[in-house]
């Protein structure tokens, strides 16, 4: 499953990022690593970005980005 499919208010464990090096690096340096638990706090309207909480910080991810993050819902 990918992050964009996660339900609002649900938690999941990140398995990996299905994307280029730039995207992977971008996400890891902001604190999204494989193995981390993320929590979906907002799912935007009009198929917009989602907001996750991870390791205490909030990050907005565009739908396209969220679609590349593989997760395992908890």
């Amino acid at each position: 499953m990918t992050l964009d499919q996660l339900q609002l208010g649900k938690r999941a464990r990140v398995i990996g990022v299905h994307g280029g090096r730039g995207l992977r690096r971008n996400l890891t340096q902001m604190g999204v690593h494989p193995g981390d638990i993320v929590y979906l706090t907002q799912g935007g309207a009009f198929y917009g970005p989602v907001v996750i909480e991870v390791n205490g910080s909030k990050i907005a991810l565009g739908r396209g980005v969220a679609r590349k993050v593989l997760i395992d819902p908890l």
């Binding site: 690096r25 890891t28 396209g64 980005v65």
Partner: protein, 640 residues
């Protein structure tokens, strides 16, 4: 002189600490990516003079956008004596990954755990002694926004800058260390020395696949390049992943271990701030609040401004009447004094009343942390014009001034997004143009007409954005934007921030505004204004505006406010409604809203985008201004 650099992740409070040391010079706001250009200043630390450098925030030592690249380059070859690593204590585990990388640089370092108040709110308690012991470098707690703990940390940074102690580094797992060690052997007396970098850092950067250092290694010797690739492969084989991912995971594990050892996470204090996002970032209500906040903002600025404008303008009007009784009203002295009074009237009576409340309002929105939320909300719409949510931030800053807006495009990831955003942000009405919108249309036709102008402006920008995306098609990279926690703005900081801009306005704009009025008044005396107006006649004629307005449009290129101040002068009255129709006011204001950016903006555009693209922006904005104003004239004629 000792040079100390403030290094840390975005929004950790580096600029706040810098300002605490040297006075409010660097802009601060609750938004990752506020600082896009480094700022140096001398400071007296513990009785000794030192140079302090405020750098743009970096998440890691790998450069990404332009602002981050500048910070990294400065860090790696800026001849720094000590690093003050500013850490947001409420985000300790993530921030430690950068701290670990910084220790690898082998430069004296002091860690400043800032935002202790925020950490406490989240229920995080950090044992600083233990962290200092584990990292092997001094660690201090601070609340920079209140100036607590800053002095101790920088004084210690001065000491380590002198003493130059050896900086211990954290060690990775054995298999990784073995590969790093192999590469260090190759580098020690070669490339590392040549570029003046700690061999361990260089080795790790090469294994990390850092494009900049990979290029350096290739240029240095092909063997080194090959050896690096070989070691990367062997590391990857051991763990079944890429070398880069392995190193990143290693750092993450180290940081997590450290965090668990030194921090205890208790019960967070849940307050209003934590619930706010369920409303302000809500999928539907969020947009309602966004519109309401923007609308309230403009109404308040307009009401406050127009309340002050009336009495001040009356005062100046009366003094000009009085002047006419004292000296003959056709002599040189009369025109000179009249010009100066009119310039001052414009600067104080029209510009100031709108400028100050506007800046104060924007400062509060920035410090609360609303801007990244706006970026999140607007992401969907920005995708429609080929950009993403981060571009909203330069746009919003553009309402303040186009210069910082263009600079802020440095936080964007692609060249194309930078160009499109910079070009579009120059069309956002800055506070100078807001003065014209409020002082002319708002004042004489009513607030709702002024509001309509903003709506038209957004529509035009959207259309042009769409056209630009068609012209420069490319896949939009997705949004990745950190949303910092809400912070209570400090009145002192808001005032300092407003004063920074107001002082700049007094120093830079007043001479121009008063000088401009003086020049126009003298032109009137010598009857030269006629020729200037004639030169601009094609524009004023096609827009159906009085001949006398030509000169105001020419001077408006220097400073947008001049267009309004001179408008009163050129028409010879502050009772504009007696000489201009409603349609003419709308047409004039729409033209002013879009045509050629002011000289300061053109200068920064040329620096950031190059001359070709700047010329393109000038040509395009003038065309857009003409088209929009012509349409307005047509519609006004139809209604009338």
């Amino acid at each position: 002189m000792i040079r100390i650099a403030l290094v840390g992740q975005p929004n950790s409070g580096k600029s706040t600490i810098f300002n605490h040391l040297v006075g409010y010079k660097a802009k601060t706001s609750n938004l990752p990516g506020t600082t896009v250009e480094y700022l140096k200043s001398e400071a007296l630390i513990g009785g000794k003079r030192a140079e302090v450098v405020d750098l743009p925030g970096i998440y890691s030592l790998t450069s990404l956008d332009q602002a981050e690249a500048q910070a990294r380059n400065f860090l790696l070859d800026g001849q720094i004596d000590a690093v003050l690593n500013v850490v947001d204590a409420s985000l300790l585990s993530r921030s430690l990954e950068l701290t670990i990388q910084l220790t690898e640089m082998q430069i004296p370092i002091v860690v400043c755990l800032n935002m202790e108040d925020e950490a406490k709110r989240k229920g995080i308690t950090i044992n600083t002694e233990k962290l200092a012991e584990r990292l092997g470098v001094p660690v201090f707690s601070a609340v920079a926004s209140r100036g607590v703990g800053v002095k101790e940390a920088v004084e210690r940074a001065m000491e380590v800058a002198h003493a130059k102690p050896r900086v211990p580094f954290s060690t990775y797992s054995d298999d990784v260390e073995k590969v790093v060690g192999e590469l260090v052997k190759e580098l020690s007396c070669g490339l590392a020395q040549q570029i003046g970098l700690a061999p361990r850092l260089l080795a790790i950067k090469l294994l990390d696949g850092d494009p900049y250092f990979a290029e350096q290694a290739r240029k240095n010797s092909f063997e080194l390049h090959q050896r690096t690739e070989q070691l990367k492969d062997s590391l990857g084989k051991i763990r079944g992943s890429s070398a880069e991912d392995i190193l990143s995971a290693e750092r993450h594990n180290l940081a997590m271990e450290l965090f668990e050892e030194v921090a205890t996470v208790g019960r967070p204090t849940v307050g209003l701030r934590d619930k706010l996002d369920t409303l302000l970032m809500h999928r539907v209500l969020g947009y309602v609040f966004f519109a309401a906040i923007m609308y309230a903002f403009f109404i308040v600025v307009f009401r406050v401004g127009s309340m002050i404008e009336t009495p001040v303008m009356n005062l100046f009007d009366r003094s000009i009447d009085m002047l006419a009784q004292v000296i003959p009203n056709n002599g040189f002295t009369f025109f000179a004094v009249k010009g100066i009074i009119q310039g001052m009237a414009g600067a104080i009576g029209i510009v100031f009343p709108y400028l100050v409340p506007f800046l104060a309002g924007l400062a509060v929105l920035e410090d609360v942390g609303y801007l990244p939320r706006a970026g999140y909300l607007m992401d969907v719409f920005m995708h429609k014009i080929g950009l993403h949510g981060k571009s909203v931030i330069p746009f919003i800053l553009g309402y303040g001034c186009s210069v910082p807006a263009v600079m802020a495009t440095r936080i964007l990831d692609s060249k194309r997004a930078r160009f499109i955003t910079a070009a579009l942000s120059t069309m956002v009405p800055c506070v100078a143009r807001t003065t014209i919108i409020f002082g002319l249309v708002g004042y004489f036709l009513g607030a709702h007409w002024a509001f309509l102008l903003y709506v038209i402006n957004i529509l035009v920008i959207a259309i042009i954005g769409k056209v630009l995306t068609r012209l420069f098609p490319q896949v939009t990279p997705g949004l990745i934007l950190e949303i910092p926690s809400y912070k209570v703005p400090s009145i002192r900081v808001v005032l300092a921030k407003v004063w920074l801009r107001v002082r700049e306005f007094i120093i830079l704009a007043w001479p121009l505004l008063i000088g401009g009025s003086l020049v126009l008044s003298l032109f009137e005396y010598a009857r030269w204004d006629y020729y200037l107006n004639l030169a601009f006649r094609p524009v004023t004629w096609s827009l159906g505006l009085p001949l006398a307005l030509g000169v105001t449009l020419i001077f408006g290129i220097f400073r947008k406010e001049l267009s309004l101040i001179m408008l009163f002068q050129a028409l010879g009255t502050t009772q504009v409604a007696t000489v201009l129709s409603a349609g003419q006011m709308m047409t004039f204001t729409l033209f002013v809203m879009f045509y050629i950016p002011c000289v300061a903006t053109v200068a920064v555009l040329a620096r950031e985008l190059g001359h070709g693209k700047t010329a393109l922006v000038i040509g395009a904005t003038t065309t857009i201004a003409l088209v929009v104003a012509l349409l307005a004239r047509g519609i006004a004629a139809m209604i009338a």
